[in-house]
């Protein structure tokens, strides 16, 4: 039996580390490779001379000149200043499905037989990875009920954009693209369900939630019609509320001729329990990163697996991975004239697909269902603990259980103490836990907190996180400045004047931009 401990004496390293560019000393080298042997040099000839004149550098790149030992120390210091994945109970990034990434899958991805293959090798020498792609597609078909999948998109929003592009091609072929120019989504669907179709050229109409937390079906009926190209819905939504009327929404859309897309980025809790095809959807996507056990990746690499019914399969990005039934050989099919085209280099993030395949095969069908069940159980246990904390509420769907996550509101505590969610989430870091994620914008739930304690977290970890939140709520009442000035024990900075974060003249994301902006 483990213990539940609130780490009141946690203290993170704070190295006051210079930028790598500031560590540069002219002439210092990290490694000096030996000169090539005469025979090798002769065989290679003038390597640089083989490059076209136009792409040859006239001056060397302005890279920092730092010795090997200092480079290693630099990045170790930086790594100690993060609270990264798998370091603690990183359940706090709600809607992200942060879960443990089994080490064995990392070992397999690092294994030379995978790590050293190149996508330009002949197909005959890539049969292993092609089989894994093909196998993963079969798993996704079983999970969703769809007919085909592409594993090319590099993330969730990219998969949603792929779906929007397919829907655009579909209406173009029917000659209705000029009139079918609207997409309907809901406020608590992921914002990419609005942003990706918007980028694909559609006009977006968003439905507000009702008190029960479901999108407003009457509002949907008022906007869906001959101009509707598609609906893009997440279910369960980011509140953790499952919309049991989803078939009604799909029916209304289909009756108006519209296409139905289901964002299953929150689908961790439905695997083996409910299939998006059975709810009537035409297209959908899942995140292989996160949901299927692969690392979050910090903005990549990821894989948004996008599936569809047969009717839309001809538009899938090329190449698709096919299996020759006669020989059992796997091959890449580029001959797809109606495809929306290439959407990612080579096959996408093969390392993510490999890890996800290994994870799904290890779990098996029963394991996927157990994943869903335990993630719902964990969330509901966690909710019972958090509900006891005075000052926090769970808006919408009063009296109903949530599925895999909940969007909480600290509004009562904020009204009482002036301490808001932005203060509380920073203070969480002082207890050695990752700060939690508040919400997408705009904040429909005031002072929001979104936590998704999925299946890999132990009971003790759920209790620790809830105890930390209770501790901070108590501090907000007794010593609000302590919370407002936090974090105190983290490497991260104290709260900056927020408007400066919105001012591009005040920050820089590259050294070059920094030098330009401060005029050096």
């Amino acid at each position: 039996m483990g213990i539940t401990k609130v780490r009141k004496n946690f203290h993170q390293a704070r190295w006051d580390e210079p930028m790598i560019f500031e560590l540069s000393t002219p002439g210092v080298r990290g490694i000096i490779p030996p000169a090539a042997e005469a025979e090798v040099a002769a065989a290679a000839g003038d390597v640089v001379g083989k490059l076209p004149e136009s792409i040859r550098r006239k001056t060397p790149p302005a890279l920092p000149e730092v010795d090997q030992k200092r480079v290693l120390a630099h990045y170790l210091h930086l790594s100690q200043e993060t609270l990264g994945s798998n370091l603690n109970a990183d359940m706090s990034q709600g809607t992200c499905t942060m879960k443990y990434n089994p080490r064995i899958n990392e070992d397999l991805a690092m294994e030379s037989r995978f790590a050293n293959v190149h996508p330009w090798q002949d197909e005959d020498t890539l049969q292993g990875i092609l089989e894994i792609y093909w196998g993963m597609e079969q798993i996704m078909k079983a999970v969703s009920g769809m007919d085909r999948f592409t594993l090319q998109p590099g993330g969730g929003a990219h998969a949603v954009f792929t779906a929007a592009s397919i829907i655009r091609a579909y209406w173009r072929d029917k000659g209705e693209l000029d009139t079918r120019d609207e997409v309907v989504t809901s406020m608590f669907s992921h914002p990419c369900d609005a942003a990706s179709p918007h980028t694909a050229g559609f006009k977006i109409i968003t439905l507000m939630p009702k008190e029960d937390g479901y999108p407003d079906l009457e509002a949907m009926k008022s906007v869906v019609g001959p101009r509707t190209a598609a609906i893009f819905f997440t279910n369960p939504e980011d509140t953790g509320i499952y919309n049991p009327l989803i078939e009604e929404f799909v029916k209304v859309a289909h009756e108006a001729g519209a296409v139905c897309f289901n964002d299953q980025a929150n689908g961790n809790v439905l695997m083996g329990i409910a299939r998006t095809r059975d709810a009537g959807f035409d297209l959908c996507h899942y995140n292989l990163h996160k949901t299927f056990g692969t690392p979050h990746g910090g903005s990549g690499p990821g894989t948004g697996a996008m599936g569809c019914r047969e009717e839309f399969a001809k538009y899938l990005p090329y190449p698709t991975v096919e299996k020759d039934p006669a020989t059992g050989r796997f091959y890449l099919d580029y001959d797809r004239p109606e495809s929306i085209g290439k959407i990612k280099g080579f096959l996408g993030s093969a390392g993510v697909v490999l890890r996800a395949y290994c994870w799904a095969m290890a779990m098996g069908p029963e394991g996927l269902r157990e994943t869903a069940e335990i993630s719902a159980l964990n969330n509901n246990y966690f909710m019972e603990l958090v509900k006891r904390i005075p000052g926090v509420s769970a808006p919408y769907a009063e009296g109903h259980r949530r599925l895999e996550e909940c969007r909480w509101s600290w509004q009562p505590l904020t009204e009482e103490t002036g301490v808001g969610t932005d203060d509380i989430l920073r203070r969480v870091g002082d207890f050695g836990l990752q700060h939690y994620w508040s919400s997408h914008h705009p904040w429909v739930v005031p002072e929001p907190m979104t936590i998704e304690p999925c299946e890999t977290f132990a009971k003790e970890e759920l209790e620790e996180y809830a105890a930390v939140l209770a501790q901070i709520a108590e501090e907000a009442r007794t010593d609000p400045e302590l919370v407002k000035q936090s974090p105190h024990k983290c490497a991260t900075h104290k709260r900056a004047a927020e408007e400066e974060l919105d001012d591009p003249t005040k920050w820089a994301t590259t050294w070059k931009a920094y030098k330009r902006k401060i005029g050096k």
Partner: protein, 374 residues
């Protein structure tokens, strides 16, 4: 050294606890006192000033004698320069106006005032949008967007603004309801104008959408969209309020903030019009090619009947429901917390015509479907 102007309306909020809906006027104040009301504004002002007290060496407090600021500054440990001391036992709205005008003339960097909607109106009447102001919520009625979420946040934001850590400012609505009408069960809210307030979404009421897309950017998006869809031959009846005014500015229309203006395409043809003038224009041009552009006024969600009574039932019926364009930032819709948009046109038939669902334009090719009720 920065100068902080301070005004406390000592009687603000006294009517609220006794169910009197407000404390405007001597008679109501007497009733409130008879019912045992005690002043709450001084304590609320003190809570805010305690946040400013940390800057005591860098800020000069300028205020009014007695109950209108001097006592509170003293209690917070702040030395204050007193401009005048009102005579008479109970302070009046005239005292607030005089205080605001003198503080403005004195050149203060910020006027921090404790009160409710009535106090905000008085400050606005005296200084318009020339001086940056911020309200400490202490009144019965807080419909105006010029108030911080609570007294503590008011003090914090005032301190950040005086230190130069928050520099942005923006317009915030000064609204008030007619207390007499409200006591009789009727709500009659008017938009009186806009005060300039420090802009910090986390601390000012109505801006509860977090640190997110700025209003300016949201208005840019909506304006770009209208720019692309405006028909050059159609009449556009552009409503009141800062959102529509922001669009007027972006579309190059020299319109008014508190008035209704009419354009043909993007060309201004009539400014600050009355209902009669709108009807005449519709008569001359034909109502079927006209469109009304309105926004959501105030936190309650009104699109008709608050601050835009020129857009009367006759105007609305002539233009037709399908030609009404409602514009608002996403934050404003989110801040409604799922409550419907409201209409109160004075005609039940027109209200019925407007209820149902409307698409609110929130960005370029972006809309939110929101329920409208009467």
């Amino acid at each position: 050294m920065k100068k902080l102007g301070l005004i406390v309306n000592p009687i603000a909020g006294m009517g609220g606890r006794c169910g009197l809906k407000g404390t405007d006027g001597a008679e109501i104040l007497a009733q409130a006192c008879a019912l045992g009301a005690v002043p709450e504004a001084p304590d609320r002002a003190l809570t805010a000033l305690q946040q400013v007290a940390k800057l005591a060496d860098d800020v000069e407090v300028v205020t009014v004698g007695g109950d209108m600021g001097a006592k509170e500054a003293d209690a917070a440990g702040l030395d204050a320069r007193i401009l005048f001391t009102p005579d008479g036992r109970a302070t009046t709205s005239e005292d607030t106006r005089r205080a605001a005008a003198e503080l403005a003339a004195h050149g203060v960097d910020l006027i921090l005032f404790a009160g409710g909607d009535g106090t905000a109106r008085d400050v606005y009447a005296a200084v318009g949008d020339d001086v940056v102001c911020l309200g400490i919520p202490a009144g019965c009625k807080i419909h105006s967007g010029v108030y911080a979420i609570n007294p503590r946040n008011a003090g914090e934001l005032a301190a950040l603004y005086l230190q130069g850590k928050v520099k942005a400012t923006g317009r915030a609505e000064v609204m008030d309801i007619d207390e007499d009408a409200f006591r009789e069960g009727r709500v009659s809210a008017e938009l009186y104008g806009y005060l300039t307030v420090p802009r910090d979404a986390a601390r000012v009421q109505g801006g509860k959408a977090g640190r997110t897309q700025k209003d300016e950017q949201a208005l840019d998006e909506i304006a770009y969209y209208l720019f692309d869809v405006i028909e050059p031959d159609s009449l556009y009846i552009l409503g009141t309020g800062s959102t529509v005014f922001g669009l007027k500015e972006r579309l190059g229309v020299d319109g008014t903030l508190l008035g209704v203006d009419v354009t043909r395409g993007r060309e201004l043809i009539a400014k600050d019009v009355t209902e009669r003038q709108i009807l005449e224009l519709l008569e001359a041009e034909g109502g079927d090619k006209a469109k009304i552009v309105v926004t959501v006024i105030g936190g309650q969600g009104y699109i008709f009947g608050r601050g835009n009574q020129q857009l009367s039932p006759r105007v609305i019926e002539k233009v037709g429901r399908e030609n009404i364009l409602v514009v608002a930032t996403k934050q404003k819709i989110a801040a409604l917390g799922g409550r419907p948009l409201l209409v109160d046109t004075g005609s039940e038939e027109t209200n019925a015509l407007l209820t149902g669902y409307m698409r609110v334009i929130t960005g370029y090719s972006e809309q939110i479907a929101v329920r409208v009720s009467a």
